[in-house]
């Protein structure tokens, strides 16, 4: 079943001055449970495509459909609410809240959604254990290694069981050991919770583990291969 569909989307920055075609007519369909990597050289439009799918930016033309809902026509407020309920984000720079512990960072979105305290506690501990950082639950980001911080970010993204997770260069700042174990954990969650993962990456280690590789060049899909 198709969870994400993009229909001939384009994204042009500075249309009135020096137009930059970051995404140029991409039509894609991503199925539930996929573990997909969007690859390509720097500046090819990977992050922009993820932002368009995640509703962080609007396409200049075309439409983005998530679970049958066209999100590209939603208002800012509706998009924020949509992201909260449907999408998990993992960022290259982890982007954890520095004044909160690993536990609180993981619980953040559940708290926003008003989950009951006991349910939050159970889910956070389940995720932190799955990520092998349960013993770091009460440590703040600055007390964690890069790999541990990214595991907290993954736990936060997974916390509310979103329909899919968008991960923008999640391993860019990690060493090979941390990357390996992080990917193992994400694959495990992908299999266990059937969560769809979409990465933007130029990390070979991620490409090797992804089941589908969508290659971009100059804002266009030049290859779409299943392994």
């Amino acid at each position: 079943m198709s969870i994400i569909k993009t229909l001939d989307i384009t994204k042009v920055y500075n249309p009135d001055t020096v137009p930059v075609h970051a995404v140029d007519g991409i039509t894609l369909s991503i199925q539930e449970g996929e573990f997909t990597a969007i690859i390509g050289p720097s500046g090819c439009g990977k992050t922009t495509l993820l932002n368009l799918i995640g509703g962080l930016e609007r396409p200049t033309t075309g439409s983005v459909e998530i679970n049958g809902e066209i999100i590209s026509s939603k208002s800012k407020r509706q998009l924020t609410n949509f992201r909260l309920h449907n999408i998990g984000f993992i960022f290259q720079a982890y982007n954890l809240i520095p004044v909160m512990s690993a536990y609180e960072n993981t619980a953040f979105i559940m708290e926003l959604l008003g989950w009951p305290r006991e349910e939050i506690k159970a889910r956070v501990m389940e995720l932190l254990e799955a990520m092998d950082i349960a013993d770091k639950a009460h440590q703040r980001p600055n007390q964690l290694s890069g790999g541990q911080q990214q595991r907290v970010a993954v736990a936060r993204a997974l916390s509310t069981r979103p329909k899919f997770i968008l991960a923008d260069e999640p391993t860019a700042n990690l060493d090979s050991h941390a990357t390996g174990s992080l990917l193992d954990m994400m694959l495990q969650m992908n299999e266990r919770e059937k969560t769809t993962f979409i990465f933007s990456t130029h990390d070979n280690r991620v490409m090797r583990r992804a089941r589908r590789l969508i290659k971009l060049e100059d804002g266009k899909v030049v290859d779409d291969a299943w392994k």
């Binding site: 962080l56 992201r83 960022f91 720079a93 982007n95 809240i97 926003l112």
Partner: protein, 404 residues
Amino acid sequence: MIIGYAWRNVWRNSTRSLAVILALATGLLGALFIAALANGMVDKWIKSAIDNELSDLQLHPQQYLITEDLSSTMDQGLIEAALQADSNIASYSFRVKVDAMAATANNSLQVIGLGVNPAQESEVTEIHNLIEEGSYFKDQSNFKSIIISRKMANKLKAGLGSKIILTLADAQGDIAYENFKVTGIFSTTNTMFDESTLFVDKDQLTKILRLPSDQIHQSAARVYQPEMLATSVTSLNQQLEGVKAESWKELNPALRVTKSTMDLYNYILVGVVLLALIFGIVNTMLMAILERTKEIGMLSALGLSRPKIAQMIVAETVFLCLVGACIGNLFSFLAISYFGNRGIHFERFTEGFESYGLSAEVFPSIDSEMYITITLMVMVTAVFASIFPIIRAFKLDPAQAIRD
């Protein structure tokens, strides 16, 4: 959660937050202390006016208030009965009053002569406690006693034991005069009162004025419960025909107006301080938002709605200001309590203060509700100060913020 998050955000850059907190605390301390000083001055002014001149209420014949005709008097017995019937009246005294010329061998002065019953008068005014030299009608010699102030004594070039001749028009309009001996010299903090008022025995002055012994011009009274003063005044006015009872607020409207104006002035003073501080608070919050551009963008990407972002910024600003307000209030309370007990003596300005009827020794004081009102004012200021940072945060594009 947002509230807890906001609280922690306040302490992210503790140096910067402490600078704002201390600025706010210092501003409030300054404003509150000045307000307390002004309040203390006015309170002392009112207290000394009540204690030394006005008492809580006074009764006069209505006609006397219009014409100041000495023959317009009221019956002492009727007044006494009405005052005794009011359970709020703690003490009272009866007076006869006359405009006179006081003269010594060296000088003369136009004065107001009050004929008082010393025992009764001691219950309604504090003049007997303000005697600096001599005594308050305790002289046993055959001379008629007169009590004057130090300032009047200086003007008349008189001292203890000096003779003073009072010349006046009696109730029939005839000129009369009498010799008195200065047996007591007092001093209040009100120059005008001191330079114009002297005290003699009521029975003696009644005789000089050729008034019946049971007739008076004025009665002063003190009450047990000042908050019930208006009720007593109304009740006395209803009972006594041809007599006007007035509280100190009516007897000296300037005192009442000054008191209420001072309250307003105090709030304006604090308001101006807060207005000046609001720019510093806005600047601090803007810096805090700019430093966290990426984080706020990330929060927005994760689904933190605009109202929640606004709630977070308002809470941060309110916390920042509230801590400042609490510290400012605490130090103000300590300073006002300390100096409120010890008093501050503006020795160099004594003459100037007293020429306005004010004491140069000020006991700063402030109503406890002022602290609550000011805390609320600070919170309102914080909400206003957060508007600009909120607008700034709303303008952030999450994708751009994360990319940056």
